[in-house]
Amino acid sequence: MEKTETTALSEKQPAAAAVPFTAMSVIAPALGWLIPGAGHLIQKRWGRGLLLMASVTAMFAIGIAMDGKVYKPNSGDLLDMLGFVGNIGAGGLYLLSQALEWGRTAITYAVADYGTKYIVVSGLLNVMAAVDAYHIAIGRKK
């Protein structure tokens, strides 16, 4: 009896662990990172995609409007580098901010520091959204 159960488990495990590699499993998270919510939209999760797009973009935009700082990759300061890791999660929004030179003003008041946190967290939330798009693409989530 015990042996049969063990055999059944070992037969099931490889199938459960196997992740189907499809073009969508690469495209969805990549597109989702570049354009917030697009990873869901491309998989026809319209409501979720639009909500994610609105949330991440609004957070990033509010952060910029509050005079938040956008970190650069090569500042040499460890905390700045961590900030950059958060910022780069916003994908296209980060690239846009660099191209248009947003987030370069010096922080002179408390609310602007909130803006910096908004920008970093919008990037981190976008990474969560991109991972979710990947889970949908591989069938782990509906």
């Binding site: 909500l51 949330s55 409007a65 509050m66 967290v121 979710d132």
Partner: protein, 62 residues
């Protein structure tokens, strides 16, 4: 930026909680009902935590 958006600490924290809760709800749950429930729960905890932290800071300050 010349005209920076000036939010109070409270409104900045509530807006932050709102957007973060939406993303948490969508990404951390599977069904629509669960997403809505979890998102609302997260938002509630954010706001409760914010009030508690606010009072704690006030007590520590005085």
């Amino acid at each position: 930026m010349i005209l920076a958006l000036q939010l109070s600490h409270f409104s900045a924290a509530v807006i932050f909680a709102l957007f973060a809760s939406i993303v948490f709800g969508i990404t951390q749950r599977n069904t629509q009902r669960e997403m809505l429930r979890y998102g609302a729960q997260c938002f509630g905890w954010f706001v409760i935590g914010m009030y508690l932290a606010g009072w704690l800071m006030r007590l520590l300050h005085h």
